[in-house]
Assembly symmetry: C2
Homo-oligomer: 350 residues x 2
């Protein structure tokens, strides 16, 4: 059948497993704590009869709550169905040229998938042996740059000086800084949006605000870039955010105390887990995120530990990819979950 000729064929991104049975789930960097009680209250008080009406296509209340929280303008703020939707729209909007877009070889593994689906030429730039990004690799002419900071799955944050250097060497292309994990460590580039017209800073409520199930992401940039982004959004789907997403996102961003509380708890558990993993001989860079990307000591293979953990009802993430197939990415759970995880590791490594 020759309709095949008209079909866009792609190799999609593979998300981490979402097992339906009761397990210890340390594989998709979710928050181990529930969303803010204010989110639960706002949803519980919602008049669901209003669902018969379309949601506000401009997402005005959510956008202005986010803008207010970060002290930027509403016209510098964009929201989407998780940061994946925001990033997808950014790729489609800002990378429409012919030159290749640059990003690291080891980074969020969705970047090359978006490049493929939108037929965007790209080149990956190898991280160095310590999994750090070489700024000079991004000095050449390009069609755009994407830097996850802190990077995933390495968990390493580059400095704000590094980000500025990238921005200054790329005045002709849009530089996306994907800050999905910034609430757990590193310095945000958000303050730079007034200074650099080529900067887009992307955030998510999936990790530090415990709203993975609601799909709320956002980004900041100059008013001009946000306008272009909105034009594309309105050309793809007028109403990307549904009513519950708008309501929950607003309540989540407004509860700063709860946010600081759960982020603080995750960081504390991360420090404890880091100590335990080191004691077991794992090697890793200090994590600036809500996960630890660690290499087990010889003779233990990451893949083998991964399999044995699953047999014990503990899911971590393992990437069967060059350079990182010796590592495990371990999301930070509750203290109890991490204690169980460490205990199982000890049994496995006996």
């Amino acid at each position: 059948m020759s309709i095949e000729e008209n079909i866009r064929k792609v190799t999609p991104y593979t998300p981490g497993e979402q097992p339906q049975k009761k397990v210890i789930k340390l594989n998709t960097n979710e928050c181990p704590y529930p969303p803010s009680p204010e989110v639960v209250r706002a949803l519980s008080e919602t008049d669901w009869d209003r669902l018969r009406l379309y949601p506000d296509p401009a997402c005005e209340q959510l956008v202005s709550a986010i803008a207010k929280h970060y002290g930027v303008g509403s016209a510098q703020t964009f929201v989407g169905v998780g940061s994946d939707d925001v990033l997808s729209m950014c790729f489609l909007t800002f990378f429409a040229g012919n030159k290749p877009v640059f990003f690291p070889d080891i980074t969020y593994s969705f970047y090359d998938v978006w490049a493929d689906v939108y037929r965007i030429p790209y080149e990956t730039k190898p991280l160095n042996g310590d999994f750090r990004i070489n700024a000079e690799d991004y000095y050449e002419a390009n069609g755009g740059v994407v830097i996850a900071n802190p990077n995933a799955p390495t968990g390493i944050a580059e400095s704000l000086g590094f980000i500025k250097d990238i921005l200054e060497h790329n005045t002709d292309s849009v530089v996306i800084v994907d800050e999905a994990y910034i609430d757990f460590g590193g310095d945000s580039a958000l303050r730079l949006i007034d200074q650099y017209e080529n900067l887009v800073v992307v955030r998510t409520m999936s990790k530090s605000r415990a709203l993975a199930g609601m799909r709320v992401g956002y980004c900041f940039a100059s008013e001009q870039l946000i306008k272009y982004l909105n034009d594309v959004k309105y050309s793809v789907n007028s109403y990307t955010m549904n009513m519950p997403g708008l309501i929950a996102g607003k309540a989540a961003i407004e509860d700063t105390d709860y946010f600081h509380d759960i982020v603080g708890r995750v960081k504390k558990t991360r420090e404890w887990t880091s100590g335990e993993l080191k004691a077991l001989g794992f090697t890793f860079n200090e994590s600036q995120t809500n996960f630890i990307f660690a290499k087990p000591p010889a003779p233990y293979a990451a893949s083998e530990i991964f399999d044995k953990l699953i047999q014990n009802g503990i899911y971590v993430r393992y990437f069967k990819k060059p350079r990182i197939d010796g590592y495990l990415r371990i999301s930070i759970g509750t203290d109890d979950e991490m204690q169980t995880f460490i205990n199982k590791l000890k049994e496995i490594m006996l």
Copy 2:
């Protein structure tokens, strides 16, 4: 700044206004009745703490509930964030060839917007003087066909024989039949998916299931086409549907009695409204949808009536476009709303 060169510039779709004040809203074809009590119950009983976890990327429970309801296979069913998301993914997936995609000149005004944003060549085929589609216009070689049936904003349904004719003359391209309004009239092409490998039938819960605010759309096609569609979806956003969308969609599709009840009420009100409009001298084809696309009698201009209705707190839709700028698209509201609308019309046309 030469980042402009890399930017995709588009003219976006303009959705109907969503006025925040209390008005009679007959402009975006929403359902005048609330969603099923089962939807409200399911949402009220939801444990919102679960929002910390990602939703099921495969949307299995929703997909299988929809498949079961229509008696098709889950592997023949796809869901998205409203039918706009489904259609957008269809355009991206199925129209990746070089030949132009065909659709009517007067139809859902998002089709050319998707074609533009995804750089898909297209040609519009003029409806005839009665706003009917000429099947022969779609016999030429093309990169795909899109037919809204019933068509919008005309409200006219073509027969199943007509759809079969289009399918049989287009075995080399995907034919999308957009059935957003099929629950209000016309014969669905759904039963043809086993017979025609080039057919995609798109539906929405925004109109007949009163879930516009939740953004739930779906489509049916051969397993092979649905697989390609899922590959693209997983290349754009792993988790397009959030948890409330999955829950509400399932509850809505399972409450068949309520669905028949509200659709029946809308149709009854449509018949009454049609009679009143005719008595006022409006001309229009019998509507097979939840709106009436009607031309006011001379000397009244559609644009003038539109403005005067807004001044009276009544919003209908007016398209300032060739061939249809003499018409108003009037969504069917409650009996009371339509009575008020007709009364105001009488005042305006005095």
